[in-house]
């Protein structure tokens, strides 16, 4: 019963996301990712993973789980229902003192179960004017723990304008989700070098002048 309701809610959320954003995927030349992977994206809105979810074909989408902060998604019963039941999120504890499990282990376990992940390496939503905040080290630790998994940069454009921080009415605007070429951590690559490379790969997808170059 609860599962059926969750399915219904997810359909409504997807339809709503399409109505508001008319979201359009822009795939990399390598095409739609066919293997298990980690999508890492810029993060400026609570709706970010929903847009990635929306543009993925249903078969792919079934196996994709967003990684989200437990502090936010367990805050209330509604949040927990949406986070856990509707989107099947992998919940990690961002606040170090409240951790009962290592976040990287939790994510690696989800990968071992065969899921793909949506991950936001900035750690929190970007509320600044810069396009992309510095990455936290999570992506590096995850990549080191499971080095054979493809990491796919994903740029979500315009969603921060649809629903800026503190607003609760979304403005209909066209959003795009741009997928980049998969990358993996190199043998012996240092943390700083890897983070820099991954961040540049993501930034390269950001549109200029409201439209992507491709």
């Amino acid at each position: 019963m609860k599962a059926l309701f969750a399915k219904l809610v997810s359909i409504i959320v997807l339809l709503f996301a399409r109505a508001v954003t008319a979201v359009r995927p822009i795939w990399d030349e390598s095409g739609l990712p066919s293997q298990q992977c980690v999508y890492f994206a810029n993060h400026s809105s609570h709706g970010d993973f929903i847009l990635i979810w929306t543009v993925l074909p249903p078969r792919v989408r079934e196996n994709v789980r967003p990684v989200a902060g437990a502090d936010y998604w367990l805050k209330s019963k509604i949040n927990a229902f949406i986070g856990r039941d509707v989107f099947n999120a992998v919940l990690i504890q961002r606040v170090r003192e409240e951790r009962d499990a290592d976040p990287v282990t939790v994510m690696a376990n989800a990968l071992d179960e065969g899921s793909s992940l949506i991950f936001f390496p900035e750690g929190t939503r970007n509320l600044t004017d810069t396009p992309l905040q510095p990455f936290k080290s999570g992506l590096f630790h995850l990549a080191s723990a499971r080095p054979r998994i493809d990491l796919i940069p994903v740029w979500i454009a315009n969603l921060n304008r649809v629903m800026p921080k503190g607003e609760f009415v979304p403005i209909p605007l066209i959003c795009t989700v741009t997928f980049g070429a998969p990358l993996r951590i190199g043998e012996g690559e240092t943390k700083d070098a890897f983070i820099e490379r991954a961040r540049n790969a993501l930034l390269a997808l950001a549109p200029i002048n409201g439209e992507t170059g491709r």
């Binding site: 008319a22 315009n158 800026p164 607003e167 209909p172 066209i174 200029i208 002048n209 439209e211």
Partner: protein, 315 residues
């Protein structure tokens, strides 16, 4: 004068015939010139023809559904057009409430006023009340950076995408003696003439186009395409006089005005696209680009057509 339904049926069969012909031509061109999908122009032509089928079917459904169908169709067109327009303008966080008002209050109210057929308020609601209210909502947030530009852009978005577009279904509200129950044919006349003009300008331009007419705005538009397209669309408009309250000569003159407004509307909207560094307004219609790419000429001609008809032909 025949029954409006019979005329409508004739018109729909005519358009269906043209589309079937276009699809056949597109099919054979593809067989000969682009068998493996390598010729981009042919592929785009076929994508355009397929999209035309969908647009024609949607409009036909709206016409069959009657007044409410037409109003709902254009309300959705306004919504999608406004979404494309606002995506390209300079908005700041302080514009949030003004934009929410534009989408969720102004747009539905304009179409509600249209439905209620109260012309007095329909005609002034956006240019008077909304244009005064929107900057007030914006100014309350206290952000003065590029204030005039931001306010002007939102107002123009509303003017083009909502106010002007709503003048197409507004043709239904005109009371023309001897033309009762046939107003939907006026919409058909407007849309057919404007869109055929666009198509014919494209065709004439592809066949005979040599001299660019506005190289800075729209490199694909040519003098030959413009003259040929406008002239042939005017003739087609004149030959469609039997679905209008006009004489053949009047229908031709109306068609000429509509096509000229449509042409210049296209140029204006191209200038905005160039300024924003985009090729199309969006990706809603396969082969054509965004909805505004298809609607730009209609939007510019509809209010003029509406008022000319209202001034000379209504009581």
């Amino acid at each position: 004068m025949t029954d409006a339904r019979a005329d409508m049926l004739l018109l729909i069969s005519g358009i269906g015939g043209i589309l079937i012909l276009a699809s056949l031509v597109g099919y054979f061109l593809q067989r000969w010139l682009s068998p493996n999908g390598s010729n981009a122009a042919i592929e785009n032509l076929n994508a355009r023809i397929n999209a035309w089928w969908i647009m024609a079917i949607l409009i036909a459904i709206a016409f069959v559904a009657g007044r409410i169908g037409v109003i709902v169709l254009f309300a959705f067109c306004s919504f999608a057009a406004l979404r494309e327009f606002v995506t390209l303008i300079n908005t700041r966080r302080a514009d949030h409430w003004a934009l929410a008002t534009a989408f969720f209050v102004v747009l539905p109210l304009q179409y509600f006023l249209l439905w209620s057929e109260d012309y007095g308020i329909f005609a002034v609601f956006i240019p008077v009340y909304t244009f005064l209210l929107m900057p007030i909502i914006t100014v309350l947030r206290g952000d003065t950076q590029r204030f005039l530009i931001r306010v002007a852009e939102v107002q123009w978005a509303l003017m083009i995408c909502v106010y002007c577009a709503s003048h197409v279904p507004a043709l239904l509200t005109l009371r023309i003696p001897g033309y009762e129950g046939r107003n939907v044919l006026l919409i058909a006349f407007l849309i057919i003439v404007v869109q055929l003009s666009d198509v014919l300008q494209y065709v004439w331009g592809k066949l005979f186009g040599r001299t660019k007419i506005a190289p800075n705005l729209s490199p694909s538009k040519t003098v030959e395409g413009f003259v040929g397209g406008v002239a042939s669309a005017t003739l087609i408009g004149a030959s469609l006089w039997w679905i209008t309250p006009f004489t053949p000569l009047q229908a031709g003159a109306m068609a000429l005005i509509i096509t000229l407004m449509g042409f210049f509307g296209g140029l204006v909207m191209s200038a905005i696209k160039r300024d924003r560094g985009v090729k199309d307004w969006g990706h809603l219609i396969e082969g054509h680009g965004g909805l505004i790419d298809r609607l730009d000429s209609v939007v510019f001609s509809a209010p003029v057509f509406f008022h000319l008809t209202r001034y000379w032909w209504t009581l």
